[in-house]
Symmetry: C2
Subunit: 314 residues, 2 copies
């Protein structure tokens, strides 16, 4: 199935996270939106994934080699003098909320992604949460795409509304969480917020709701995927990016962004998200294999299998 036009280009942050979890403190955990999205995508689309980001000279070459060993093309990982982007966060006891204790952009402050010529033919593009002007800059460098998806966050919604509006006009799919959707639209009801956002550019919108699943809104209607009910949730960090990576990886390997493929992709997205939260940082993503993925997908299928017809009795 591999062909030049089925590559997924993932652009975003590569980071070290310091995580204060209810279960204890974890330091120097590999993080960043591009990291989580690439790792997740590569589990579905090995050798289709290209990561673009910047690291400092403190970033171990062994980690880049580990990504490459997983079939991720790391040609786009730039190394700059200085420290790698670092985030320090603390989670509440029920993991439902978190507080940022410290953000150090470091080399990420000057990040201006230059897409390698051999990557400009990528047909699938995932723009992690970076400045919307940079997201547009990447779009300009990748001219022939099947699907351009982007994430954003409250920071850009509040501070860069003009750039954000321009970015929205350039993408096919926006992948954000429920609070971001409400804030972006200025509308509390998610169905109405989705309709409003889709008028601003992206024909498709995915609203992530964490443990409450995710909604897809597109021209074919509304589609819902639950979060897989788990017994052990250790760390939600990166779950949203893992979701997006799973979604995009599945579409890239399928080579299509049809409404039908998008609906299947939502389950692959939720599957990767469910694995992500089972370990600290990306540890679970780094240990699972095809058997684990197949088992969870089967369980997911059972979770939503209502047995066919839902016709009215009597």
């Amino acid at each position: 199935m591999t062909s030049k036009d089925q590559h997924l280009l993932v652009v975003g942050s590569i980071a070290f996270d310091d995580l204060d979890m209810p279960s204890g403190a974890h330091r120097n955990v590999l993080g960043g939106s591009a990291t989580y999205a690439s790792l997740s995508a590569s589990l579905l689309a090995r050798d289709h994934v290209r990561i673009v980001g910047v690291v400092g000279d403190d970033f171990p070459a062994a980690i880049v080699a580990e990504l490459a060993a997983r079939g991720i093309d790391t040609l786009g990982v730039a190394r700059s003098p200085g420290q790698t982007f670092r985030w320090h966060g603390r989670y509440s006891a029920d993991l439902a909320s978190r507080t940022t204790l410290d953000t150090r952009l470091n080399v990420f402050a000057e990040f201006s992604p230059k897409i390698h010529p051999s990557h400009c033919s990528s047909r699938f593009l995932f723009l992690g949460n970076i400045h919307p002007a940079l997201q547009i800059d990447v779009v300009n460098q990748v001219p022939e795409t099947t699907l351009i998806a982007a994430d954003t966050m409250n920071f850009w919604i509040e501070r860069e509304p003009a750039h954000l509006a321009s970015m929205l006009r350039r993408i096919d799919l926006l992948v954000i969480n429920d609070e971001e959707a409400r804030q972006l639209a200025g509308i509390h009801n998610l169905v109405r917020a989705a309709a409003d956002i889709r008028k601003r550019g992206p024909k498709a919108l995915v609203i992530k709701r964490g443990e409450f699943g995710a909604l897809l809104f597109d021209d074919s209607g509304t589609f819902f995927v639950p979060a897989y009910p788990l017994e052990d949730v250790l760390d939600p960090t990166g779950a949203g990016d893992s979701f997006a990576g799973g979604l995009m990886g599945y579409l890239a390997v399928r080579g299509t962004a049809s409404p039908h493929a998008l609906r299947s992709a939502m389950f692959f997205a939720a599957t990767l998200g469910s694995f992500c939260v089972e370990g600290i940082g990306p540890s679970r993503l780094l240990e699972i294999g095809r058997g684990d993925l197949s088992s969870r997908l089967a369980a997911f299928g059972k979770l939503v299998d209502h047995g066919g017809s839902l016709s009215l009795p009597g």
Copy 2:
């Protein structure tokens, strides 16, 4: 399909609610768990539903006649001297939480359901949220059942743990919300809480999560149904009872409580819940017909239709 053994007996409160909604105040709104559950069930299982409850001498005969006109057997609606049960609540602006301003049990304080001999052969039993000792008393009067389902609430979990434990050993299906499940099990994680609760008696458990859908746990595994995404939510009052009524009404008319039927029933439950919240009190339940139900069921089917196989690509 109607036969003696396919009747659903609904036992619970019949009330007047005073509702302080963001949209305004509503007084003397028909309410109560038995009311919502019966109305919902009757939309799927006309002439299969029997309601058992008590009203005061202030309760208009016209309302009882209205229930009867909808095919609900009102033989079990007792009338006692005094006032009908009354609840006064205020909802938050986003409708996500509510505060009880006043509860007047009135004639409901002495409610002790005596099941009419002609109702004792009912094969489906829904025990709304009443004292667990009364729930047991009803179970004792209905000896041959296909399915006994019950609701409960934090009040009984805190104050009547022994009676509640006895009740749980007598029922097949417990239908509660997520906070009640956590409180009952003393476990925050819902998957673990569900396993704990199912060891206490009910082989099946439904955990309702309001706008976030509902989970079914039984010997066949875990099943999820989303809440239907709505543009206009006016009043969540009675949504949980409407959900339960839809679930039980569907099973009664089908005449089975098989795992397969239960999974379909979850969609009928969510469908009735979704209509309930679209109006103040039970107003929407009172105006919809088969066409509305069919349309929403079709939309529901589309909402979760992932197109079949979820096999791993590549």
